[in-house]
């Protein structure tokens, strides 16, 4: 005879409400765990997705994600000239905010190395990859854009041709993919007035030099010229794929001997992101998760303890009848386990139904579900211990006291 279930049978509503309340608490623990992992995945998504062996950035910067880095796109040819490099491509990314259809559209623009990379390896949920070198975009679903939708960014209008899902930057913004050249144009775009002022400033600086170059002056005055005029828009990094058999660590060390560039392996980039950009957020989330676990433990303990106190008379009666300690222990433990199981089930349900609508990506895999499940099991058993300790202190003679 399972006394725990028989007891719950008589107070389904009360027990159900308690379990659902606990489920909400467990759901928050689960969400924190998922957000924690989401943060890590979002941070390293682009690094992993770009598939480079080495990231070459501006000297002494931790670019392109952890710190701003600008490199001349011509470095592509320079680095290709080394025999260890199989391919080199420039890479640009930046978070920008523009107004689209009267709403602020915040996104992280990422350049794809046309024509080799048209976004075909992206996980598309609708539409297609890029088919032309210009004015086509692939957007993440989180940006709220639709295939065929026209988006004006700077002086150009682009068409969204495909949608991805779950492509988020370390800052939590949805990714917007364009060809590398388009990405640079979007990222480096300046308002007309800003451009006019820069032209004026450059002309003024030119007047103070002894260059006396009418051609240069004409180019500066020509409004069709793109700023910064004297050079093409910079990229943020050059991505290298090495020739077969090359060791990325050794090549990066070799490249770092150059006075004007810094080179990181993909793992180096991941470390920069995880130990730099998202480290504080990770610590904060980790702390929240720890605090929530403690709070959950206290709440579960109080609930189990209160449920045990409410059964003081029944437990005293069982003891008076000579029931073994195991009967009392099972009564407390089974209820605690059932409470934890229902609460966890409700948390799982919420994770499927509600978490996808969270502003930050919540990434939960078997490891996260298992770890939270084990945590809940531990909390519930620890809480049972408090209830059992209380139950074992109840004297059988309490019954005779009336």
């Amino acid at each position: 005879m399972n006394l725990a279930f028989k007891d719950l049978r008589r107070q389904k509503a009360r027990f159900g409400a308690t379990a659902l309340g606990l489920g909400l608490l467990f759901a928050v623990v689960l969400a924190m765990t998922g957000i924690y992992r989401g943060l890590v995945e979002d941070a390293t998504l682009l690094v992993d997705r770009m598939g480079a062996d080495i990231w070459v950035v501006q000297r002494d910067t931790r670019g392109p994600f952890a710190e701003r880095s600008t490199v001349p796109p011509e470095w592509e040819e320079r680095l290709m000239a080394t025999k260890v490099v199989r391919s080199a491509r420039s890479f640009s990314t930046a978070s920008i905010q523009r107004t689209h259809k009267d709403r602020a559209l915040r996104m992280t623009v990422v350049g794809l190395s046309w024509p080799g990379d048209r976004g075909q390896s992206l996980q598309m949920v609708r539409g297609r990859s890029l088919a032309t070198a210009h004015r086509e975009l692939i957007a993440d679903l989180s940006l709220g854009l639709e295939p065929g939708e026209l988006v004006t960014l700077g002086d150009e209008t682009y068409m969204v041709v495909g949608l991805t899902k779950g492509m988020i930057s370390s800052s939590g913004d949805g990714l917007l993919f364009a060809t590398e050249l388009d990405a640079r144009t979007i990222i480096n775009w300046q308002a007309p007035e800003a451009r006019r002022l820069e032209r004026e400033a450059r002309l003024a600086r030119l007047a103070h030099t002894e260059l006396d170059s009418p051609l240069l002056e004409d180019r500066l005055r020509d409004e069709r010229s793109v700023l910064p005029v004297l050079s093409p828009p910079p990229a943020n990094a050059i991505l290298l794929n090495l020739a077969p058999g090359m060791n990325a660590e050794e090549v990066a060390l070799e490249l770092n001997l150059s006075p004007d560039l810094s080179a990181y392996t993909t793992q180096g980039q991941r470390d920069l992101l995880l130990k730099g950009v998202v480290e504080k957020s990770r610590q904060q989330l980790g702390l929240f998760r720890a605090i929530l676990s403690v709070v959950s433990g206290i709440v579960v303990s109080l609930i189990i303890y209160t449920m045990t106190v409410a059964k003081t008379h029944d437990i005293a009666l069982l003891k008076l009848m000579g029931a073994r300690v195991s009967v009392v222990v099972k009564l407390v433990t089974h209820q605690a386990l059932l409470l934890g199981a229902i609460g966890y089930g409700f948390a799982l349900f919420l994770s499927v139904v509600a978490f996808p609508h969270f502003p930050r990506r919540v990434v939960l895999g078997p490891a996260e579900y298992l770890s939270v499940g084990i945590l809940i099991l531990f909390l519930v058993l620890a809480a049972s211990a408090a209830g059992i300790a209380r139950a074992l202190r109840i004297p059988a003679t309490l019954i005779l006291a009336g």
């Binding site: 005879m1 006394l3 028989k6 007891d7 049978r9 008589r10 107070q11 008379h313 029944d314 009666l317 069982l318 003891k319 008076l320 009848m321 000579g322 029931a323 073994r324 009967v327 059988a396 003679t397 019954i399 005779l400 009336g402």
Partner: protein
């Protein structure tokens, strides 16, 4: 056959100025099939004697034997007292003390379950006892759905379930009107006669004394009178 023998029991609560001698050399014997009453005013030691006989509160001095087997002697316990309680002693209280989240049938089966008896035969045994005590039709009702008299009948069925040789009842009719109180006492008589169980009842109700075989009257922790109803 002696169901229980208690000899020269002594029990003291507190010490110094707060010391109370609750039992002072009390001796009681109850045979199988016998119904015994413990009478006496409040504070006379009846409940202390009942808890001592029920192996809940062993005396510091004296002997207690169950079915001829010594279980407590001069404060030393022989054997597993909770195990003896669950298999050899049935308890009935002033209030029925049924488990509120179990039906009448389950309350009776509980006494069997804690003796490791499960299965269809326990269902049959519980129903048989409820029928025997006249509450078979209320088997699926929860205690709150039963009257006081019905609850006491279920409690007696529970006490009888593991077929204990001894039932201890602490003022079982105190919460009942006289008619229902007498009916419960007559049930004890019936149980003792038909099942061979020894029943010891602590009671204040002098109107039902004719039901008992032996009456022990207590005062100040001692037995002052002992004998058949006509002699007391």
């Amino acid at each position: 056959m002696e169901a229980i023998r208690a000899e020269n029991l002594h029990k003291t609560y507190g010490e110094g100025s707060t010391e109370v001698k609750a039992l002072r050399g009390v001796s009681v014997i109850a045979h199988s099939g016998e119904v015994v009453a413990l009478l006496g005013p409040s504070g006379s030691g009846k409940s202390t004697l009942l808890t001592a006989l029920g192996l809940l509160n062993p005396p510091e001095k004296g002997l207690i034997q169950l079915l001829g087997e010594t279980v407590v002697q001069d404060g030393v316990e022989f054997g597993d007292l909770p195990a003896l309680r669950r298999s050899r002693i049935g308890f009935v209280f002033q209030k029925s003390n049924l488990i509120p989240f179990l039906t009448a049938h389950e309350n009776v089966r509980l006494a069997l379950a804690i003796n490791d008896m499960e299965g269809p035969e326990t269902h049959a045994r519980a129903q048989e006892l409820l029928d025997y005590l006249g509450v078979g039709g209320r088997a699926d009702h929860y205690p709150e759905q039963l009257s006081g008299g019905e609850q006491q009948r279920v409690a007696i069925a529970r006490a009888l379930a593991p077929r204990p040789p001894l039932i201890l009842a602490d003022e079982p009719t105190a919460a009942l009107d006289s008619q229902r109180g007498r009916a419960v006492m007559e049930l004890f008589r019936k149980v003792a006669q038909e099942q061979g169980t020894a029943v010891i009842v602590v009671t204040h109700d002098h109107r039902t004394l004719d039901i008992f075989d032996t009456i022990f009257e207590m005062e100040d922790g001692m037995i002052t009178t002992a004998g058949e109803p006509a002699q007391v």
